[in-house]
Symmetry: C2
Amino acid sequence: MSVTPSADHSEDSHAVSAVLDDLAVLAVRRLSTREISLTAATTLSYLDRNGPARLSALAAEQGVTQPSMTQLVQRLEREGLVSRGVDAQDGRAVLVGVTDAGRALLAERRRRRRERLDEMLGTLPPGELRELTRVAGEFLPLLRRLLQSAPQE
Amino acid sequence: MSVTPSADHSEDSHAVSAVLDDLAVLAVRRLSTREISLTAATTLSYLDRNGPARLSALAAEQGVTQPSMTQLVQRLEREGLVSRGVDAQDGRAVLVGVTDAGRALLAERRRRRRERLDEMLGTLPPGELRELTRVAGEFLPLLRRLLQSAPQE
DNA sequence: GGAAGTTGTATAGGCTTCCTATGTAAATTC
DNA sequence: GAATTTACATAGGAAGCCTATACAACTTCC
């Protein structure tokens, strides 16, 4: 470890760790759509935000191997969610881009997840809901910054 | 939708939803231990916190089907991480409990995740780190309640 | 300008973890 | 006590990941 943790730092990261575990369960199981995997969704989302990209670039971005990304892109192409073209500059490379159908699926997925989250939030007593949303408003920007600074294993 | 969301409620849940994908990537890929799956880890953790439980109760808790939980428990038993006993009250039921080896693995997993998290947290400015951990402490209980009250699809 | 190395993608084969459909034994109901 | 329900197990299959390896296009270097 390159950092020198203090005692309370350790305790703090315990709480953060617990939150991350629970949030992972929430994101992966309670909010997962059956029609598309997490990697597929985040890959589509990346292509939507950043434009066409190479297979190997996508694999690195998603933290999977290149063969896995090849397979994923093949599945996505079969389902009409992405298109593949050749790179004019480099005959070896494949440029993957999201299609309109892919964008539509992304939008539908977002809608459904938001709907389910709303349902879950609706079961909380109003006071707790208010507190949760307030705390979430503080927490999420910080988490985002943490994620962006995260090392790539 | 069965609940009637207010305007700000919708915005908040949108913010939550927006960060969940990134978060899931972090939790699932950057903090995942290769030796045990997310479901296995959260199941062990549940058993550790709540004592022995039935197969079907575990399946419902984890949001997987009963056959999947049967398989998971069989794998965990083969690896000596859980033990299976019969319910004295109900001859059909199986009571699953975590073993000392299971607890040891949980502790090791926690240690390793904490180590990685510490590295990530170490990249934050001290002020943000303090705020992040403080907010995490507030957020955790609320999140737990939300997950408990969550509808099972 | 061609041999050798590098890079980008595809294929093969295997593992884990989930699913649905269905079987079986214990408990409950009538 | 027969029929139903409940709790778990088994069978078979698919998704999605891996490592190892093959192949084709680009680059280097003499």
